[in-house]
């Protein structure tokens, strides 16, 4: 599968690359966000938008990729970029969480996931729905109702997430590319 992982200068991108390699059977192509204007989504089969520092507004240029019709998976900042693309909003989380775990209900099962975020999706973009939230109602996973687009606020690639592969498999199955 021709998968591309776009790195927003984050320090967890290669953890995500290794996790994806375990579930795709090979590693994705990893490119730097700075090179985005010189790249095209044409010919890709899966696009992954990495975590990263700051707000989605600092990362213009993803519209072409998200609207390409190719499956898109966003992690943390990547999820927030997807949400803002569809008109959603990002705000400061009242009690931000870094390097800590939390149990969430994901598709009827309890999953221990690692959280690293100061910001969260405070308003949902058009067409997106929450498929998992924490007990305070903070969105933890979003999916587009009729397009192959999904994102996780938590970090499946963290060593603190007990079954990170479950979330990659779910995305691939939802996109019909498992």
């Amino acid at each position: 599968m021709n998968a591309i992982l776009i790195d927003n200068h984050d320090s967890f991108t290669h953890n995500l690359e290794h996790l994806l390699a375990a579930h795709l059977g090979h590693g994705p192509e990893v490119v730097c966000y700075d090179d985005l204007p010189h790249l095209s989504p044409v010919g890709r089969e899966l696009i992954i938008i990495s975590p990263g520092p700051g707000r989605p507004a600092e990362y213009p240029g993803y519209g072409l990729w998200i609207d390409s019709g190719i499956p898109v998976l966003g992690i943390c900042l990547g999820l927030q970029i997807i949400n803002e693309h569809f008109g959603g909003r990002t705000d400061r989380l009242q009690h931000c969480v870094h390097g800590k775990t939390e149990d969430i209900n994901f598709l009827g099962q309890t999953q221990t996931v690692a959280r690293y975020h100061s910001l969260y999706c405070s308003n949902l973009g058009t067409g997106l729905e929450v498929i998992a939230a924490n007990t305070n109602g903070v969105p933890m996973a979003l999916a587009h109702r009729n397009r192959p687009i999904m994102g996780y606020q938590f970090h499946p690639e963290s060593f603190l997430t007990k079954q990170g592969g479950v979330f990659i498999d779910h995305a691939l199955q939802s996109f019909g590319i498992a």
Binding site: H9, T13, N15, R55, L77, F159
Partner: protein
Amino acid sequence: MRYNHSVSLSVQAFTALAYRLAQDGQADLFLSGSGRSDETRCVIGFIPRSELIITDRTTRQDIKDYCFGTQEPTLGFISYTYGLKLRGVKTTKTTDFPLGHLKQYGAVLEHDLSTGRGEIHGPDENAARKLAALATAQLDMPPLFASSPAKQVQQSLTQEAYESGVRKTLEAIRDGHTYQLNLSLKFSRTAKDMDMPGLAMDFWQRHPAPFYAFFNSGTHTILSTSPERFLRVTDGEVLSQPIKGTLHFKQYTPELEHKVTSSAKESAELSMIVDLVRNDISQNCEYGSVRVEGHKSTFIVDNLVQMYSNVHGRLREDSTVIDLLLDAFPGGSITGCPKRRSMELIETLEPHTRDVYCGSFVIIRGKRDMDSSIAIRTCWHDSRTDTFSFHAGSGIVVDSAPRKEYRETMAKAHKFLALGKS
């Protein structure tokens, strides 16, 4: 022709030899101490025969060519400032400290403190014979360190300014720019004729730690008393041991270790850096090989309980230890996370340069063998200016209290600050 000679040295005899060699000015010392029972190997390079001084123009290939161009081990350091260049972080600060300095030697002594056995080898027979003769001679033990009279210590940030820096960091965390950021202070004072060999051996005996380095670099004599390993590679097996989570004590009790490991704040600090280190070694490790073992292990150094983890991986066949080192440099435990944005913030928050502080001391033995430390608890003397300098810092996370972080920073600086006060 290589020269090989075995020696047997008691701890006392080795200490006397190390002191004599430190005084000699032609030796660089990488010493383990009793800080961790599994770190007992010491390496001393004697009579440098070549060197590579890293500058803005030095390329990765230059470093590989130097280190891998011979079978001899390479000893030296790379500075945090070189890390700014590697990570593409702009700085407006100037420094005349070398960006890095690597050396190869006429002879090398490798000694294991636990067995008392040592091996001298090297390409220069004269150097090796001279070192062997010194190793079997009756040498004087280092005297008690006689510090120069107490002098006014300059701090790069006052307590108020440091705490203000912590508050600015907390705002940057709430805005999502960083999860954790290491904020440091620089201390300096004039110290004419500072006895650096005496200080090195005095500290090594009174404040043992696994990754001591005593290194001559031009007019700088550097002493690192680091307890932290950055990256070790043994036949391609990678190990990093990041430290986070600190508790200062006056009287040790076993409950102190539980207090650190059960703290949600300290655990989160370590976990963030473990994820960062996993990422940084993953760039050059085989898929599926990166794993964490012994998460939240503890050890004691300098009246501090410190927490660490073991992050393992397998170096890719097409990578070398230089690729691993430079792609992972500087160590995440002294930048923060995400690394590049945290380093950009550090540049705005710290008025000083870090130079070798938060860089790494390295022993490179080949393409798949290396050991390196994080150069914390590090000081140096510059003979041009008769200045003695050191730094200390603390990792700031969202639930950090500015006053408490300042106190932790001063606790880490204590053994250097106390010099000249006794």
